[in-house]
Amino acid sequence: MDKPEEEIWDIEISPRNNLLDLKLKDVWHYRDLLVLLVRRDFVAFYKQTVLGPLWFFLQPLATIVLFNFVFANIAKISTGSIPPPVFYLAGTIIWNYFSDCLTKTSTVFKDNSAMLGKVYFPRLIMPLSIVLSNLIRFAVQFLLFLLLMVIYSIQGYPIHPNFYLLLFPVLIVLIAALGLGLGMMISAVTTKYRDLTFVVSFAVPLLMYTTTVIYPLTTAQAKYPKYSWLIKYNPITVVIETFRKGFLGEGSFNWGLLGFAAGATIIIVFIGTIIFNRVEKNFVDTV
């Protein structure tokens, strides 16, 4: 039975929404805003800098030079047959993408409170724009990685790209979704209690060492046979290892682990989105 026209409402504002209503239709309507926000971030990043987008290169370059010096030369951690710089860069660009998504998303309400407090749009747009802005950054750094790969293979190092690199798009989605999902969970708490922002600022750099950015999984398994499962089942490790397997030909890969990582990511994103949608309604009052 149809309702009379009087009772058909486009918008209903009420204290609580259905938990599972993720408002994805709304997000779709605002897709132009998403693109414009990404563009704004990109333009604002290099305006009034001398080197401009070159800064995207310098950060990972400095990181691998330092890693090479500390971990490969001083600590002598083996990177297998892969030359250390390429090995580190593969891990670093993926880790950076994850950690940028996570840290920026976790303070999204606080950082944008001036704008979010004055106008409505689906709040999900904000973290999505963070993920996409950082994707551009990742893409630039990925080009650097390809360049380094080519240079080393010309010099005769054993770098063997193989068909596993077809999984690359899946890996990108996974890593972005992980950063997004965890970030959204944290953002919910930081709107009211800022404590967690401090935890994030020191814990995220430390967490890097629990993934295989600077060592191969096989080394960890050889040294700590009992506890290496912690590293092995970390979804970020799975992504980094699969990435190395596909592009460099060396890395631990199995379909079961990848499936596990994908499952974990889907759950994290789903819970993160639910929490985020719940908080967005009232965060203005507490942020």
């Binding site: 918008i11 504002i13 609580r16 805003l33 106008v119 409505y120």
Partner: protein
């Protein structure tokens, strides 16, 4: 007529004070109550938002049990004193925050203008910011493209459209921002006092545009303002909020009249501060015979009449009158040259001002009293009281040679009757 907004039992509670370690245990308690399906224990003790009373609870109801409906094409003015809940209501209607209790049902798209230029980025050009701001306000790219020329034209910033907005003058910035919002394609426009920016000419243009929107295009406008002149000009219905509750709904004129009459009601949110608040009671303050929002021309005299009651003998006392414009204290005058003794009883003080030295705009009247003389020497302890926002008036733009449009500034002085003399040489 079709209803486009239906507000039912709308309430909004705010927690006062700091969030700290104390709040986490309370959050857990509230969460536990919710899990068991009980009523939130902290909302039960909430009280009405009356700033003059020292509250016992740190939960206040910014809005309490609002019920109203708005029909298509209505232009509704929401009036009330500071802290009456107007902005909270607009925030809920524009979905920036959600109510604690109750629902709002809306038909059509809502464009809310709680602030002009939300999301403007100083590094981006005017063109880029039009697209960004439009998208933030809910427009699709194609829509903005279609309206682009109209927006630029309305803002009058054609020459600067490809310059970063950080190089704009503040006036241009505001004009561009309003132009984007004014050209939104939405059925319902929610506007806070954003018109309090820009010069008088642009304000008129904005008011005109909003008038067109509601009357010509059949859109619905909700408008919050302290400026009764604009409300009267723009709105055909009014909602008066007092301490978070609806005190009156109906025709604009009636709502404004109600608002004026309520202005001296102790419940209306007027705050008197000082040591004399219990000794001197202000009974009424009128400007040229009207309690609020009189319009005067620069040629008029402004007669402020303050009626008050003195409850106990004071060794020295005189009344002072202060005018504020946009939060700036413009001037203060006293009714007497020195403080003199006052006996208990009823009094009235008349203070005359010339309006020509005030530039056009809305002035808020504050009244105080004290026992000091002109060298700030007081008889005994300094005793005083002060009441802000007790009345208001508007000085109209009636330009003349003595009230020159070009004599910009905070105050107005008539042009000097100087003579230009040809001196022949440069000494």
């Amino acid at each position: 007529m079709t209803k486009v907004i239906k507000v039912e039992n709308l309430s909004k509670a705010y927690q006062l004070g700091d969030f700290g370690t104390g709040t986490i245990s309370r959050d857990l308690e509230r969460y536990w109550a919710r899990v068991r399906g009980k009523e939130d224990p902290f909302l039960k003790i909430g009280e009405l938002n009356d700033r003059t009373q020292k509250g016992t609870s740190d939960i206040v109801w910014s809005l309490r049990d609002l019920n109203f409906e708005v029909e298509r094409g209505d232009a509704v003015g929401i009036i009330g004193r500071n802290g009456a809940g107007k902005s909270t209501l607009l925030k809920i209607l524009s979905r920036v925050t959600s109510p604690t209790v109750g629902t709002v049902k809306i038909k059509g798209r809502v464009a809310s203008l709680l602030e002009v230029g939300t999301g403007f980025h100083p590094e981006l050009t005017g063109r880029e910011n039009i697209y960004l701001n439009g998208a933030i306000l809910g427009m699709r790219k194609a829509e903005i493209k279609r309206k682009f020329d109209e927006i630029v034209d309305f803002a009058g910033v054609d020459r600067y459209i490809d310059t970063p907005v950080k190089r704009y003058s503040s006036g241009m910035y505001v004009r561009l921002a309003f132009a984007v919002a004014a050209n939104l394609e939405a059925e319902i426009l929610v506007v806070d006092e954003v018109l309090a920016v820009g010069d008088a000419e642009f304000q008129k243009k904005c008011l005109g545009k909003m008038g067109d929107v509601s009357k010509g295009e059949g859109k619905t406008v909700l408008f919050v303002s302290h400026n009764m002149g604009s409300v009267r000009q723009l709105c055909d219905k009014g909602i008066l909020l007092t301490n978070g509750e609806i005190a009156f709904t109906g025709k604009t004129e009636a709502a404004i009249k109600n608002y004026m009459n309520s202005s001296l009601d102790p419940k209306s949110g007027i705050i008197a501060i000082g040591t004399l608040t219990d000794t001197i009671k202000i009974k009424s303050v009128t400007v040229n015979g009207s309690p609020l929002d009189v319009a005067v021309t620069p040629k008029d005299e402004i007669n402020v009449c303050i009626k008050y009651q003195c409850l106990k003998y004071l060794q020295g006392f005189r009344i002072s009158l202060t005018l504020f414009k946009d939060g700036v204290r413009v001037l203060t005058v006293q009714d007497l040259e020195e403080s003199i003794p006052i006996e208990p009883g009823y009094y009235r003080s008349d203070i005359k001002l010339q309006s020509y030295f005030l530039r056009p705009g809305t002035y808020s009247v504050a009244v105080g009293g004290h026992n000091t003389n002109h060298t700030n020497f007081s008889l005994g302890n300094v005793e005083w009281f002060f009441v802000t926002d007790i009345s208001s008036f508007e000085v109209l733009e009636e330009w003349s040679s003595q009230y020159d449009f070009n004599n910009l500034g905070i105050i107005n002085l008539p042009n000097t009757s100087g003579v230009r003399t040809a001196t022949g040489s440069d000494d």
